[in-house]
């Protein structure tokens, strides 16, 4: 397969090397001249010394026939724009973006880039399989909407503990989808009271995330 990699940092370099070793065809775009020379020295003529966020260089790199474009620069805005250009201008069937700030996974998905990789998130998942107590964790965006799924745990001392759902003052458009209590799913309606130890799943418009947090945790 043919892969275009945007960004020749450590991630881009090792990715290109690994793909070449498994007999794929690779073109790596790197805007820094000296860095591009270093990579060319090591990997051969698979480097284009040019910025990947400009359409003409994506064309020069052959994005029109690429099976995938992978944007792995250290800048999230650049990775977003590179992927959007590849999708819109070159009709690349698959685009993958590295996100440095894990919050941007949700942003990228909302803006049409479905495949993201966050090294922070990968490491976090290894360290903590569990939600920290009293935690509030935006889980994932729902594709094709501006909604996201949030998981929260009601701990002792959480302001919403003991309150009915109807009295929480959740933002309009946000809803508690379910409660996990002692390992079982409890139906949630306005009269249901939240108890200490409950894990809840909230559906919320992405823009109202802060309002949901306030309603639950004060």
């Amino acid at each position: 397969m043919y892969f275009v990699i945007a960004g020749g940092g450590e991630v881009g370099f090792h990715l290109a090397k690994a793909l070449l070793e498994s007999s794929h065809e690779v073109m790596l775009l790197e805007s820094d001249r000296r860095r591009a020379q270093v990579i060319e020295e090591k990997l051969g003529s698979v480097v284009l010394n040019a910025p990947a966020d400009e359409g003409r260089y994506q064309l020069e790199a052959g994005c029109q026939r690429a099976d995938a474009v992978i944007a792995v620069t250290g800048e999230d805005p650049a990775n977003l724009i590179i992927c959007q250009l590849a999708k819109w201008k070159c009709n690349v069937p698959r685009v993958i973006a590295r996100v440095n700030d894990p919050k941007n996974e949700i942003v990228f998905k909302a803006l049409g880039i479905d495949e993201t990789i966050s090294s922070t998130r990968v490491i976090m998942n290894v360290i903590e399989q569990e939600l920290p107590s009293g935690g509030f964790l935006p889980l994932m965006p729902l594709t094709g909407s501006h909604l996201e799924l949030i998981e929260a745990e009601i701990a002792a001392g959480t302001p919403s503990a003991g309150k009915s759902i109807g009295s929480l003052g959740l933002p309009e458009g946000a809803a508690i989808g379910g409660i996990v209590r002692k390992g079982a799913v409890v139906h949630a309606d306005d009269t249901t009271k939240l108890l200490v130890g409950d894990r809840i799943v909230v559906l919320s418009p992405t823009k109202d995330e802060a309002g949901v947090r306030k309603a639950l945790f004060g």
């Binding site: 400009e54 805005p77 977003l80 724009i81 959007q84 942003v107 909302a110 995330e209």
Partner: protein, 156 residues
């Protein structure tokens, strides 16, 4: 109107000052505290230190209640990201991004983001001035001169 401006360089600061004077509620965001010196004296809006492509920072800036958002940092990509967050995630009606690369400016315009390219706007104006075509920049130049005179006047 509630207006959020991302990027407090010369353009962002100038626009913030004009809109503040016209009575709008302006919040201006920049990564560098030092950049707020560009704001005119007596600026009555809010300054916020932070990254204008960060969801939390934009929320703090009040983007969910903004009537208009301008993305005016020095980076085209940052501007396009901030503008898309405003338009697509927060549903802000009027969003304008400064995008100096004409190709990206045209492409994103086709995707619901109003873009303004200094490259083509200034270039077109300069060409018209050289060719003696006064029509092209007539109103623009008059208004700019008035704003410049006002700013110079304020400095005494």
């Amino acid at each position: 109107m509630n207006i959020v401006i991302v990027g407090c360089g010369r353009v962002g600061a100038f626009l913030a000052g004009q809109l503040d004077k016209a009575g709008h509620a302006v919040t201006i965001v920049d990564l560098d505290r030092g950049s707020f010196v560009h704001l005119p004296q007596g600026f009555g809006g809010t300054t916020l230190l932070g990254n204008g492509t960060d969801l939390e920072v934009l929320r703090t800036a009040g983007i969910d209640k903004a009537d208009a958002v301008f993305a005016l940092t020095q980076g085209d990509n940052r501007n396009l990201m901030a503008a898309q967050i405003a338009r697509q995630i927060f549903g802000v009606k009027r969003v304008i991004a400064k995008v100096n690369d004409p190709i990206r400016a045209a492409l994103y315009r086709a995707h619901e983001i109003s873009t303004v390219s200094r490259t083509t706007i200034l270039g077109t104006l300069l060409e018209a001035m050289l060719m003696g075509d006064a029509e092209v920049g007539k109103v623009l130049i008059e208004k700019s001169k008035a704003a410049e005179a006002a700013m110079a006047g304020e400095l005494g």
